[in-house]
């Protein structure tokens, strides 16, 4: 069975490396993008099973990227988990309003992240 693919979009290489280490050891194949624009483009081209989207990024932030992904027929059904340093409710509400499926705050807890990913796309 082919591995499910997760696109991690974050301008911080430390964050993408950490997410890759947590998710890549299991049944998932990790793709990365360094900003919102590249994330939207890669999502369109690669059609991953799940997208993990940082909020604060250059060129295009996570909210805008999420709205664009939801606006395109090819990517509108892909689950999106937003990840951010901001855990306050207004940021979470903004994330959900832009169309994200779930939300994790940094520093990322691996158990929580794996549970949310599994909830979205299974093992």
């Amino acid at each position: 069975m082919p591995k499910k693919r997760i696109l991690v979009v974050d301008d911080s290489r430390t964050a993408t490396m950490m997410a890759s280490m947590i998710l890549g050891k299991g049944a998932y194949e990790i793709l990365t993008a360094v900003d919102g624009e590249e994330g939207v483009r890669k999502a369109h081209d690669e059609k991953p099973d799940l997208i993990m989207l940082d909020v604060m990024m250059p060129k295009m932030d996570g909210y805008e990227a999420c709205r664009r992904l939801r606006g395109e027929p090819e990517t509108q059904a892909i689950p999106i988990i937003m990840m951010t340093t901001r855990g306050e409710s207004e940021f979470m509400e903004r994330g959900y309003a832009s169309g994200c499926t779930d939300y994790v705050t940094k520093p990322i807890n691996s158990v929580e992240l794996l549970a949310k990913v599994k909830n979205c796309i299974g093992d």
Partner: protein, 284 residues
């Protein structure tokens, strides 16, 4: 003669009277007997009917007796089956109880394994954090990238909202602000070694963590200092990493954060020193 005739006539009349009376009595007796015969016939008919009814009843009794015998036999069979069913039920109850206990054990094992999995996953996460931090710090020889990486490590792996990186001056007398995030840099531009908590960390080489009982006065701007880590190379302090406010969702420092600080104390100093050497080598 007449007298004789009269006597004879009286006798004849008497005989005739008696004969008539006798005949009447015979007729009456005959009538009575006829009635008796009729009654007897009726009785006989009734008796016959009763006999027939009794015979029918008898046949019914025989049938009922047979049915009773069959019922008794069925009852005995059912009693045996009931007893067997009771035994089976008891056995099933015992099996059910055994399986329930086994399930409880499996549940307990499962909980135990889940806890172990979570603990291992946490440990794995911690190791991954340390690995990523170490790998990232030594991935580049560019000073700005190392500083950027330090900021990323603190923001993404520790969860800091405000931080500052100080580097020691050549004479070892002052700390200069090299990079910051979330704070007003003006009041931290230079800090004399030994002054305030940040300065004391540079002077002593001992890390400071809020709430760990460290004594001493705070300098202005150090009110929200959460941790201060000396960056040391070969036992010499080459800089200080100051962590101020943590992110709102981060309630406090955890054991992993302290391990990460220990790693940064040596690895960040080494990485920054390597960038300096590399820069010098390129200039030469």
């Amino acid at each position: 003669m007449d007298e004789h005739r009269d006597e004879h006539g009286a006798y004849i009349r008497q005989v005739g009277e008696r004969t008539r009376r006798y005949a009447r009595e015979i007729l009456e007796e005959n009538e009575r007997l006829r009635a008796l015969i009729a009654a007897l016939r009726t009785d006989e008919e009734r008796a016959r009917e009763e006999i027939e009814a009794a015979r029918a009843l008898s046949r019914e009794v025989v049938v009922l007796r047979e049915q009773l015998l069959e019922s008794k036999s069925e009852n005995e069979r059912l009693t045996v089956e009931l007893e067997a069913a009771r035994d089976a039920l008891t056995a099933h109850e015992r099996e059910h109880e055994r399986l329930r206990r086994q399930l409880d054990t499996v549940d307990a094992d499962n909980r135990c394994f889940t806890e172990q999995f979570v603990a291992l996953e946490q440990q794995n996460n911690n190791l991954a954090n340390l690995y990523v931090a170490s790998y990232r710090l030594h991935e580049t020889l560019d000073h700005d990238e190392v500083v950027q990486t330090l900021q990323e490590i603190l923001a993404n792996l520790v969860g800091t909202e405000e931080m500052a990186l100080f580097e020691m001056s050549g004479d070892g007398g002052t700390l200069s602000l090299s990079a910051s995030n979330g704070i007003q840099p003006e009041i931290y531009r230079t800090i004399p070694v030994g002054v305030g908590r940040i300065g004391r960390v540079a002077a002593t080489g001992e890390a400071y963590t809020a709430g760990d009982g460290s004594q001493g006065e705070s300098a202005p701007g150090e009110e929200h200092l959460t941790a201060c880590i000396p960056l040391k190379l070969a036992g010499r302090v080459t800089g200080v990493l100051a962590v101020f406010r943590l992110l709102p969702q981060k309630s406090g420092l955890e054991p992993l954060d302290r391990e990460l600080f220990d790693l940064l104390a040596s690895q960040a100093a080494m990485a920054l020193y390597s960038t300096t050497l590399h820069s010098r080598a390129r200039q030469d």
